[in-house]
């Protein structure tokens, strides 16, 4: 079949194939719905038990640790704000993995797209720093999204036209992006006054993204939620989204190449990469105020975890990001209250990630969740 972005023929073929097994399915499919609730719930329970055992081995009461995590992430309005602050970049980063997964591509260039987006947003913002604040923000956001999008589009294009493995190339491009950031803040953009931590010149204070009212919460959270909603709508409710989802079905092994159409891949990758690019802009414009190595804060790698935990669903990314944002926010209290190193949260994330991956193999394994064949 010839790969064609808007070809009608393949769609009909897929539609028939996909519909065939479900023809005589009973109308209410509660068993499979229940499966998709019970298994993720089990994942959380099992990983909490595993993590609890790990903490107990260190001589710390796991129940107290969980109580501290809850307190530090959702315990008070103040700590919840901290959670929201961390959830915002996570949502945007997660989309960078979640959207291309719909095409059947495992892209892990989130960190690189965030860094390059933040760097270019800073460069653009510094150029127009005398303009009104809103103009500065729009230009910074456009620059961040465009460069982040192009960054991941390169990955998609290499896959599409040269067959270069997208996971490896996006991983390598993370390092290239971080090197570009270090190079820029140490030479072209270096503020001579930043001695300990080489940084770019700062964005003027009155041109920063301001928090809402008395809170610490800023526009980043709104951007994150909106982007997730739009991405969900695009994937599930538009013809373009149908083409994306079709690609994933068709690219199933062994025919792993040749089905995905070029324009769909490139546009999807651009949309995916623009999200962490925007996160980079928000990190600069709302938090750091300048580009430096703080941009490289592992939000990208945690975003990969969010995307898998949300099973590539853009709406679920919002909720999962809130949970993981809370987890990240509780790193400090574990150190202060229980003398556990900050890496404890990393261990917890690793355990959760491994349990989720194992749970993928459980879908369809239990007879109870199978719909009765009429």
């Amino acid at each position: 079949m010839i790969p064609n972005a808007f070809g009608a023929e393949p769609e009909i073929a897929v539609a028939t194939v996909a519909a065939a097994p479900g023809l005589r399915r009973p109308p209410l499919r509660w068993r499979s719905k229940l499966e998709s609730i019970v298994i993720p719930g089990g994942v959380i329970l099992v990983s909490m038990i595993l993590f609890g055992l790990f903490v107990a081995l260190q001589g710390v009461d796991p129940l107290e640790v969980f109580a501290s995590i809850k307190k530090a992430s959702f315990g008070s309005w103040f700590s919840f704000q901290n959670t929201l602050l961390r959830a915002a970049p996570l949502m945007l980063c997660a989309l960078c993995t979640a959207i291309p997964l719909r095409l059947g591509l495992v892209v892990i260039g989130n960190e690189g797209a965030l860094v390059i987006g933040g760097l270019c947003a800073t460069a653009a913002g510094l150029q127009v720093q005398t303009a009104p604040a809103t103009t500065v923000h729009v230009i910074m956001a456009a620059a961040g999204m465009a460069t982040g999008g192009l960054w991941i589009m390169i990955v998609g294009a290499l896959k599409q036209y040269r067959g270069v493995n997208e996971t490896i190339s996006s991983l390598l491009m993370n390092y290239v992006a971080i090197a570009l950031l270090n190079q820029a803040v140490n030479s072209w953009m270096k503020d001579p006054e930043s001695l300990n931590k080489p940084s770019s010149y700062p964005i003027p204070d009155d041109k920063m993204l301001q928090p809402f009212g008395e809170t610490q919460v800023h526009w980043g959270l709104v951007f994150g939620i909106l982007y997730c909603l739009v991405a969900w709508f695009l994937i599930h409710r538009t013809t373009f989204g149908f083409q994306i989802r079709r690609s994933a079905r068709m690219s199933a092994p062994p025919a792993s190449r040749g089905w995905r159409s070029g324009p769909v891949t490139l546009i999807t990758c651009f949309i995916a990469g623009a999200a962490p690019g925007l996160a980079g802009m928000v990190e600069v414009a709302a938090i750091h105020g300048r580009a430096n190595e703080s941009l490289n804060a592992w939000y990208g790698y945690t975003g990969i975890l969010v995307a898998f935990l949300a099973r590539q669903n853009a709406l679920a990314c919002i909720f999962v990001s809130l949970i993981l944002g809370g987890l990240l926010a509780s790193g400090g209290i574990l150190q202060r209250a229980h003398h556990l190193p900050d890496a404890t949260i990393l261990v917890f994330q690793g355990i959760v990630f491994m349990t989720i991956l194992y749970s993928e193999s459980l879908y369809g394994r239990f007879k109870f969740f199978r719909e009765e064949a009429a």
Partner: protein, 307 residues
């Protein structure tokens, strides 16, 4: 270094860097090569490298013997390798995703357990001095070679022989190329893959021990600097051939030394970009050699297909 050698310091530093900085690459790439030959990808070697570095340093500090530390690093690699092998072989589980999970878990565990060992000094691995003939201290220090380098070279050569000329090597290649055919031959795909992933992971653990016990020779959270991540790229670079992985490792080690060497002679305009040269190099090689029409020469048939 450049004080005494002038511009000659650059090639000397690059050659020394190829051997010194290339050794961990050598261990992770031969390990990854063995893993991938059996048909699975292990992207999580970064976590293994960190765990290896941490456990080698901690055990060396506590027992006073770096060689026991080396064993501990290999053991840590075996354990993480087993987890990876077991998870990656579950139905419908993507081995690349497992690798990312193992990066997070392995580095988290290494940072967690290694926190108390950041300060103290652990006994280091001995070095062989080949530079005693020279009066020049720069050349002397460049020719201090860790015995692990020669072990790594021997492993690369032996692995090549193993794949080409032994029965077990044939099993590994069969499982990696045509799992169904291997199953029909009566080979247990599960066992061959588990053993290959575990052995490869143990090699990466030893590479981590080299980092903390020889060069740079201390345990910090930044000790690996992403070296485990590019193991996968190195193997593509070396076309799934252990001896070519050896050359690729030396090349990457040398490329890594280029930035600091140029800085030492006063060329520091693109220092940070030079540091990224191994990654850019791999990307370029992949772009030039990959094709959307066929697999790369030497690539195991089952790699990345989920079979």
């Amino acid at each position: 270094m450049s004080d005494t050698l002038g511009l000659w310091g650059v090639p000397v530093a690059v050659l020394a860097g190829a051997v010194r900085g290339g050794t961990p690459f050598l261990f992770v790439s031969t390990g990854e090569c063995l893993t991938e030959k059996s048909g699975k990808i292990n992207l999580g070697l970064e976590g293994v490298l960190l765990m290896g570095a941490m456990s080698a340093y901690a055990i060396s500090y506590q027992t006073g013997s770096p060689w026991v530390g080396l064993l501990a690093a290999g053991g840590a690699g075996l354990v993480l390798g087993f987890i990876h092998a077991w998870l990656a072989q579950q139905p419908k589980v993507n081995d690349i995703a497992v690798g990312i999970a193992m990066i997070i878990f392995g580095s988290g565990l290494a940072f967690f357990l290694g926190k108390p060992f950041i300060q103290p000094l652990a006994p280091q691995l001995p070095s062989l001095d080949f530079g005693a003939w020279s009066g020049n201290p720069a050349i002397q220090s460049a020719l201090k070679v860790c015995p692990l380098f020669f072990v790594g070279v021997a492993i690369a050569v032996a692995m090549n022989w193993f794949f080409k000329s032994t029965r077990w090597g044939l099993f590994v290649r069969a499982v990696g190329d045509k799992p169904d055919a291997a199953r029909a031959m009566g080979i247990s795909v599960w066992w061959v893959r588990t053993c290959s992933v575990m052995a490869g992971s143990a090699l990466a653990g030893v590479g981590g021990a080299y980092l903390s016990l020889f060069y740079p020779g201390s345990w910090t959270e930044r000790v690996s600097g992403g070296q485990g991540m590019i193991a996968v790229a190195l193997v593509i670079f070396g076309r799934w051939n252990p001896v070519q992985c050896l050359w690729a490792s030396l090349l990457f080690g040398g490329a890594q030394a280029l930035g600091p060497a140029l800085q030492s002679v006063g060329v520091n305009s693109y220092y940070y970009l030079f540091n990224a040269s191994p990654y850019i190099l791999t990307l370029l090689v992949m772009i030039l050699t990959c094709s959307d029409k066929r697999q790369l020469a030497g690539q195991p048939g089952a790699l990345g297909t989920g079979q």
